[in-house]
Amino acid sequence: MIFTVLIPLLLACFVPLISKIKDKIHTGIFVFFIPLAIFLYYIQFVGSDFTTVNQTVDWIPALGINFDFYLDGLSLLFVLLISGIGALVVLYSIYYLGKGERLGHFYVYLLMFMSAMLGVVLSDNIFVLYTFWELTSISSFLLIGYWHFNERSRYGALKSMLITVFGGLSMFGAFILLSVITGTTSIQSMIEQKDIILNSTYLPFILVLLLLGAFTKSAQFPFHIWLPDAMEAPTPVSAYLHSATMVKAGLFLVARFSPIFSGYEWFFIIVSIVGIVTLCWGSYMAVRQTDLKAILAFSTISQLGMIMAMLGFGTEIAVYAAVFHILNHATFKGSLFMVAGIVDHETGTRDIRKLGGLLNFMPMTATLALFGTFSMAGVPLPFFNGFYSKELFFDSSIDLTAGISGFADFLVQVIPYLAVFGSIFTFVYSMYFFFGVFGGKKQFNLLPKKPHEAPIGMLISPIVLVLGVIIIGLFPNLVNGTFLAHAADAIKGAVTADQHIKFWHGWDSPAFMMSLIVVGIGTILTFTRKKWAGVYRFLPGKLSLFKFYDIVLDKLNSVSNGVTKQYMTGSLRLYVAIILGTTLTLTFITMGATDGFTIQFNNLSDVRIIDLSVVLIMIVAAVGTIFARHNVAIILIAGVVGYGVAVLFVIYRAPDLALTQLVIETVSVVLFLLCFYHMPKLRKRDETKRSKAVNIVISVGFGALMTIIGISAHSSKWFDSIANYFIETSYKLGGGHNIVNVILVDMRGFDTLFEITVLGIAALAIFSLIKLKKNKEAD
């Protein structure tokens, strides 16, 4: 199994080499065989005697991250969709993309995506699943932005990237929580331990984070906004990624984890509501669109919502309907996208207002579109597979049993009505799509190209898909027991015998009545569409989520820009104020919280007159520096403080320090005078009262802080001083009576070594600063 996942990725490396010879042979022809081979490999698993298959290849065993592949009915369904439709899409793209395009890029991205998607559906390890999941986001980003010279393409690619990666990261959070709670990274073992998860206090977080991932990927309300913009991608990409495969990854995720959460009522509530709302909103909005692919995008959104809702219902029949509809939707939506691509390719526009009356000019395409749209609408005829799954959907929506809480109870009552409402609009946009393009008046003067039938190669893929629609429609039980039952079994566990899909439910079947209502009202609405189209001015009107996204993104930029400008002003004064203010606040808070301040009076020396007088002079000088108005005066007054310190050293019997302090003070005063000689005079700063007050608060606060820290440090001596050791051993070990010097050059000579290095670097730096400046002036 691992080879089927990795082969597209490996062979993608050779595509650039092959694409060099694209003048003679289209690159897609080589690529076509890869998904075909994978499809043929997996088709052997289809059958009534299906058993699950496991394969493990070590990757990072120490972290429990391995390529654990697990093939059950659900993954088999998806794998066949991915490889089967992948092959058809590649075939289609051979005719769709000319040799002038950058084919190497296209097929590398496409193969990358295929690999990622296969990895998502086959992985049993959540972290491997996540890796492939993000790879689908990245390759989808690349594919949407394939025509990167197009501004809309870049916008759509970025949008889809932001939204799906947001969801992907949320999902990653859920995965981490899951693996921490259960102690395993395997989904199957998590399902076995579902009691632990269901009893965990983190359950709401896990559920919400996981569903965020699924909803963003599957374009559920309100995260659906990226899908219509992703229609800027080449049509084969839209057909493949945005109808059949990637957008179903979210459904896959929900289905995969539903054995764990199906007992949890909030799972039912959230997933059903989001699904139903997406169904209604997507189908309602689809009628409003004028671009063919936009109609299909909203239709995809609404169909995905419908499947999501069914997964939320979680009853046996609903799960069965969900997997059935995943299959059906892939067939008819894939073919419809290809039809839209053909129409675009042969007429030069996708604008439905310019199209019309193409039935006689493109009969093949029209036939294909007829099957696709009518199946999508759920028209009750026995060769449209969409009808069966829609019937099952209605069946499951009225089959719901009341939940425990009142809200779930209410939901159960409402869902059938919403289901009918959404399906009516589904019918309307399906008819709108078909008759808008192929029916009505000819208006070829609006078209950039003269329309004609597509080349047969381009029609092969939609024909295959439509054949799928018809065959499943005529013989639904062909895929039933061999295939779908296993998929439903993987989600629901122990589905009894295979559901028997019937065309005829009988007149008294409520699902059939609902279908008739849908067709009836849908037909009326289709004919009167022009009359009620005005409602779109009120809803969505100003409530458009697309605008909301743009505003949020815009605000995010401007607000963060503004915030940064507020504090990154380039003013060093402000930075110092921020640094000191933060230090001050944090230290005071820490001190207050830990009760760090102590003061003791028992270990104090007597205060003498001479100490007091020296300190007084220093205080006067220090205060003087604040009020001095001339820079030389400031330097000299500051010198007084320095000499005061030297005197204090003398008083406190530190002759070495006193000597050094004296000389250093002198040297630095001289240096200051040398420098300040060249400097401009001090100017009085124009300060507002407020900034002045802030400065005073910070400086006084910092002084107070240092004082308090000093007192506390003095009052809490926790260990004996090591000074005695130096006093005893200074002569014995160091051979000197000057303890300070012995410490400096012998006991801790290492410090001194680097202190003189610091001095040397400083001197060389000053020298080079001055010399370099001179050279610059000479230039």
Binding site: L659, G735, G736, N741, G749, A762, I766
Partner: protein, 141 residues
């Protein structure tokens, strides 16, 4: 151009500079047993030189003291590191010092410590640093 008559300054400088230099060397040598040491000795030497520069002018002093003070910095650092690394010869950790008593012809019995060599490194570096900084800034136009 106005030229001050600084005869008194120059005369006293020639005297005081020697006293300062002598005091500096005393500080360096005595550092191990009484206040002083390489650092303050270096600074004191530098101040003697600065005094000379101040009273005689940079050009004149350059003639009598043809020293490039910048080279003193690496020399001093080399002495200090070399003293430290010398301990490897005797298979002891870096910067292990030792001392001993020797009887020399003129001085009689004196104590010699390897720490003194290290202090000389400090002395040379500090001298080089101080003079480099002051001369660089003073020479700046």
């Amino acid at each position: 151009m106005y030229k001050p008559n600084d005869l008194i300054l120059r005369t006293t400088t020639s005297l005081i500079a020697f006293i300062l230099l002598g005091f500096a060397i005393y500080l360096l040598m005595a550092g191990h047993n009484s206040p002083g040491g390489g650092f303050v000795g270096g600074l004191m030497t530098a101040s003697a030189f600065v005094l000379m520069y101040m009273s005689y002018g940079i050009e004149t002093v350059k003639k009598i003291l043809p020293i490039n003070f910048r080279t003193l910095i690496p020399i001093g650092l080399l002495i200090a590191v070399g003293t430290g690394a010398g301990s490897f010869i005797f298979d002891v950790p870096f910067l292990s010092h030792t001392f001993g008593y020797f009887t020399l012809p003129i001085f009689g019995e004196i104590e010699l410590a390897t720490a003194m060599l290290f202090d000389i490194g400090v002395y040379v570096t500090v001298l080089g640093v101080t003079m480099t900084i002051i001369l660089s800034i003073a020479n700046d136009q």
